[in-house]
Each structure stands twice: as structure tokens, then as C-alpha cells.
Point group: C2
Chain length 378, copies 2
């Protein structure tokens, strides 16, 4: 194997596939990045066996030569060292060559690295995925859907299925749902597809988080293919595989109340900042709980009291308070997470009593909702 | 106590005095910030008993009213909460008032905090310092002198005196010296003074580091007063006290070789980057050592070899190599620290053999030098 490549393109691809590489693996070859040079270009692969990422650097693009392949071949290089090396190389072009069997030379200007490689034949094969049933979604929409749901997955392994995000596809609708059983995030969107099949899968929250870090915020379409135990995201020059979680995701539809007894409308940012301040003194406590109550004249009071430190009272002017008076307590962290996930300047919060879950929605957007279970303190 | 103050000025002063506050103190009142409101303005104080910082906010500045004092007084508020609160307050102006004995209210817009304060009478008094003997130095020069020396102090408590920077003042010259016994940093400057006394003191490295974070990069003069066991830095509206380390600092002057057998001149940045790359594979090893050797045609080779990972060879074109051929090994970290501390595009390295300390200087600047002890490997 021997090729000359533009350093910046190499650095970018290495950074992308590094998202799948972990040093905490029991399979030594997975601490490496697989590099394959073929006639069409260079392919880099990283994997932790849950997530696998393949990044392709074409021989040329828009008339520019990016890679000059001198001899095809493949090698696995230690990911940590290789990624640090390429970032710090002195010149814009890098030559990579296998000498002998696994000794790999990286040359750039007057800098020459010799790395001990591993046999590329021993690198695990990526899943073979039939692409009969695929659908498409705009990359920036996918990123938004991930951002608006994945934070609500459970971080505890008590119920492993809740560490994933539930994706349901039916009749051209995609619903993404995450819950840790104390709060729930739901986001829906239309997708482009010719398939009739419906799916109900659970994608590890960590996989979606890594994916959203490496896809660009563009409106280009990304292809998605689902198999029995894998999901594949195909962007330009990028393949992202994730295993799916096994097991049945709980039916969350009955959790979402269909009616409400108190509804408030309030500016998102003002509400978020008031909750943030009200929770400042409560963070010491075990659960970071704030109290919320409606007052006359459309005023909302958010407060917390930590006797050893002090207390806070925040008044927020809401656009409207409809229905019954209410006093309720909830986790300030969950509320702030939910408010940050919503778009739009104003939100509506619908309560059905102090002991029932309540729902937060943007004012004019039915595609997203956040649900929070209150805490018993009043 | 009651006053109304501009939030931004309060936030800035709180951030400054917070540099002296630690949560790991055995004296509970030192986890707080002391706030004193008097006719002239508001004074904030933070201290960990080694460092004390006092920041003054004047009643008015350049015709602008900054503080409106309604009633003088003093209180100590929990530093961690108070600093987080002021940063997040909603309006540009903040009212602070003591209710009853120690209950303190912080009001801003519709936000109201009640904090449990501590009695300001119990806050330790800052050292009383006679200002007979003081000298002045430009703030940006002081910052540079700290940056160029303090990194070389020892982090080990085996010889506590080496955790400080040795300041020697004599005949209008200030020398700052730091060494951890493996390397040494020295910086000299002229100071403005009318005093005849000479001083030889040791300032904790940590104190200088915190000081350099809060003083601005201006050419305004900063006053410095030295007493038996304290040093005081006086900038505009800011007092910074540090205790001095007790004990005698070793005489370092005889460590610095006066002659050399090999001298090289090289571009600072190119040399730094080559050392950085050469050390990439060596970082795994215990001591991060690189090999340096002179080759013909003014070429320098820097290399390292970690058999289990691989090896690196870097060639650097120097402006000149004078004197004997040389092979020497040294810590890449110490060399990079030294090169980052120097100013100027080119440096001169003067060696007196593979086993002797060597000296790095900017090409045309006699006020600064860095010294490194080699490592025995060749």
C-alpha cells in the first residue's frame, strides 16, 4: 500500500471514524483505524463493535486530486497515535506506505513516522446490509430530532431498553421517543420513502449522539436502512452503522395526557432563565427540585428553599394562565433539558393536577412534546 | 447594609476575588466573600489565607454612577452560591440588602434571593502592610515575567522552597528564577524604584499564577510592596496579597554554564513543532524523552523510538551549528515548556556536552534564559 493524500481531508476523516473508536475494548484490533487504499480512493474504518463508521476519501473531487494511489493495500494503525500524528504533520500532503509486512511509514516534509501496524485481514467485517428498504431524511432535520430526544434516555442499565431511543416508522411518519421513566421526549417528522413496511426499533442513545456529531447541518438527504439488528445511516462519503437494542420498548402513548386542567403560555427563554436561577440553591440538595405555582394576574412563581443556604423566589409574567390554580414541584434539570430541546419563542405547558405528568409544547408546533413527572413535595 | 450596583461590575469583581477562594479550607468563613459597603463604594474580599484578594468598586467612575449606597455595612456571603447567582441575574442592576442580622436579600428584576450570610466581624483581617518601600512595574511586563518562569516551579512538596519563584531585587534589577531541579527558568527586568534595599524572596508559584489571571495586559504600573512574610501587588481598584515561602532558595547562579562547546541557532516555531511530533510516540513511556543530534549541513535530527509503537525522525534545518558534534537526550516536555516561554522567532541553544545542562535563549535578548538538564540515554 502506498498513497499520497491531502492532509486536511485525512484529518477530517480520521476525526470522524475516531468517534467509533474506544480504548476500552477487549478486542485489541478495534483500538486501530483500518485504512484501505483502492483505485477509487482511500477508506477509513473505526468501530467499537456497537458503532462502526466508514469514511471514504475519493481520488478526486470537483477536478481536484485528493489522493494519489501508488499501490493499493490495507493496514490497521493504532488510532490514538495515528490521529494525533496526522493533526500535527508539517505539510499539506502526506505519504503513507507499508514497508515489509506491517511497518507503515508516514511522511510529511522532513517528518517521518514508522508505526507498527496490524493485519487488516483480522479487522472485523462490517455488517452486510441489503438496501431494499430505505428511506431518506434531511440531515439537519435528523440532527434536530436526535438533539430533541436523545438527552431523555436513561443512563441507568436497570432497564437497558430505556438507554435507547424508540424509532417508529409507519405510513411515512417517523416518531422518535426517549424516556428514563421520569420524563419523556417525543419528536415526529414526515420521511421520504417508497416502502410500505413499518418499523419499531430502539437505537442506543450513544450511537445517535455520536452520529449527530459527525453529520453536517445541511439539508442534503441522508439514507437510512434498517435491518433486524442494525441501522445504517448513509451520508456522502460516510457510512454509520449501529446495532439496535433488543427487547420491546414500552408503549408510551398512554402516558401522554390528552386533556388538561391548567394551561400556561410563557416565553421560553424567560421561563428557562428563571428556572435556572431558582435551582441555583437547590443543586446542593438531592433532587434539584423547584416549586411552581400560579398566582393572579397571569403571574407564575417559581421558588426553592434550602434552609441551610437560603431561598429564591422568581416571578414570571406569562401570556396566559387558563383553568385551575396549581401548585406543583418538579426537577429543574428535567425542565431545563426540555426547554432547551424545544424550538420557538413561546411554549405552552399543560397540567392535569399536581400529581400527574405534564406536557410542554412549542406554541404552534404539534411535532414535538416534552413530558415531565412531578415530584411530591406540596 | 443596602446598596444598588451595576451587575457587570459586580460580576467582574466577584470573579477576581473568587481566585483566592477555595472550598477546601478548614476555616468555614473563608468559603465566603466579604462584602463591605462604605461611603466611597463597595469592597469585596476573598482569601484562602495564603492569597487574599480585595477588589474595590467605586461609587462612581468617569461621571457614571456604579454603586448607590443606601446604608453602609458588611456581610460575608457563601462564595460559590453568590458568584453563580450574580452571573445569572436578569437585569443590569442589582440590589443587595441585609435584613435582620445576617439574612441578605439580592434583588434583580422579578428575581429575589435570600442568602444566609456570616458575620463580617469574624472574617480574618488582611495583613497591614507599611508602604514605605515599594517599586513599580508595568502590568504587562509583570504578566510576561510570571508566564516565563512560574511553569518551572516544582510540583512536589519534597523541597517546598522549590514550589515558589525566587525574586531577587538589587540596584533596580528584578530577577525571577524558578527551578524544579531538572530545569530552570530565569527572567530579568529593570524596575522603577527609589528604594535602596535589596530583597531575596520566594513567592508561591500558585500565587503568581492566580495573580496573572486577574491583572490586565496593560502598560499601567502596578505597585509592589514586600514585607518580611508578605508581598502586596496594588493595581487600580485591586489588592493582591500573598504570603512568602520561608527558607533559603538555593543559589542557582553557578548552575548556568558560562561557556559552550556546541551552539545552534534555529527557528523557534519549527523546532517546537518538530519536538512536539517527535514526542508523540514517546508520551507513553515514562519520561517522554527525545534524542537530539547534529548532522552535517546545519541539519538537526530529533527522534524517538518506542519499540512497541514505532519511531519518529524529524529533520530541522538550522541557521547555524557551531562547535563540536553532539548527541544528547532530553525531556520533550521541558523543551516545549521552555520554547513556549521564550519570545522571538529564533533561538540559540548552547550545549557543553551530552551530560551537562544546556541553555536556551532568544537570539537577541539577554533578559531571559531557560536551562534544561539532559537525560542519560546515549
Amino acid at each position: 500500500m502506498k498513497f499520497i493524500i491531502q492532509r486536511d481531508r485525512l484529518v477530517q476523516s480520521v476525526q470522524d471514524v475516531m468517534k467509533a473508536v474506544t480504548s476500552r475494548t477487549t478486542i485489541p484490533i478495534l483500538t486501530g483505524i483500518k485504512i484501505t487504499a483502492a483505485a477509487e480512493g482511500v477508506t477509513l474504518t473505526g468501530s467499537d463493535s456497537d458503532i462502526s463508521i466508514e469514511s471514504f476519501i475519493p481520488k478526486e473531487e470537483a477536478g481536484d486530486e485528493i489522493v494519489e494511489i501508488k499501490q493499493p493495500g490495507a493496514i490497521v494503525l493504532p488510532a490514538k497515535f495515528f490521529s494525533e500524528i496526522v493533526k500535527k504533520l508539517p505539510t499539506d500532503s502526506v505519504e503513507i506506505e507499508i514497508l515489509g509486512s506491517l511497518q507503515t511509514v508516514i511522511r510529511s516534509g522532513k517528518s517521518e513516522f514508522n508505526l507498527n501496524g496490524l493485519d487488516a485481514e483480522e479487522y472485523p467485517h462490517l455488517p452486510q446490509i441489503e438496501e431494499n428498504n430505505k428511506f431518506h431524511i434531511a440531515t439537519d432535520l435528523l440532527k434536530a430530532m436526535i438533539r430533541q430526544t436523545h438527552f431523555a434516555v436513561s443512563t441507568s442499565e436497570t432497564r437497558p431498553i430505556l438507554t435507547g431511543v424508540n424509532w417508529k416508522i409507519e405510513n411515512g411518519d417517523l416518531s422518535c421517543i426517549a424516556t428514563d421513566s421520569h420524563r419523556l421526549a417525543l419528536r415526529k417528522a414526515k420521511i421520504e420513502t417508497e416502502m410500505n413496511e413499518s418499523y419499531n426499533i430502539v437505537i442506543p442513545g450513544k450511537s445517535l449522539n455520536e452520529l449527530s456529531k459527525i453529520i453536517d447541518d445541511t439539508n442534503e438527504l441522508i439514507d437510512i436502512v434498517i435491518t433486524e439488528n442494525q441501522i445504517l445511516f448513509k451520508a456522502k462519503h460516510l457510512l454509520f452503522f449501529s446495532r439496535l437494542l433488543e427487547g420491546n420498548y414500552p408503549d408510551t402513548s398512554r402516558l401522554i395526557p390528552s386533556e388538561s386542567k391548567t394551561e400556561i403560555t410563557v416565553n421560553t427563554k424567560e421561563f428557562l432563565q428563571a428556572i435556572d436561577r431558582a435551582s441555583l440553591l437547590a443543586r446542593e440538595g438531592r433532587n434539584n427540585v423547584v416549586k411552581f405555582s400560579t398566582i393572579t394576574d397571569n403571574i407564575i412563581e417559581v421558588s426553592s428553599n434550602t434552609p441551610e443556604v437560603g431561598k429564591v423566589v422568581e416571578e414570571i409574567q406569562s401570556q396566559s394562565i387558563e383553568g385551575e390554580e396549581l401548585k406543583i414541584s418538579f426537577s429543574a434539570k428535567y425542565m431545563m433539558d426540555a426547554l432547551k430541546a424545544l424550538e420557538g419563542t413561546d411554549i405552552k405547558v399543560s397540567f392535569t393536577g399536581a400529581m400527574r405528568p405534564f406536557v410542554i409544547r412549542p406554541l404552534h408546533d404539534e411535532t414535538i412534546l416534552q413530558l415531565i413527572l412531578p415530584v411530591r413535595t406540596y
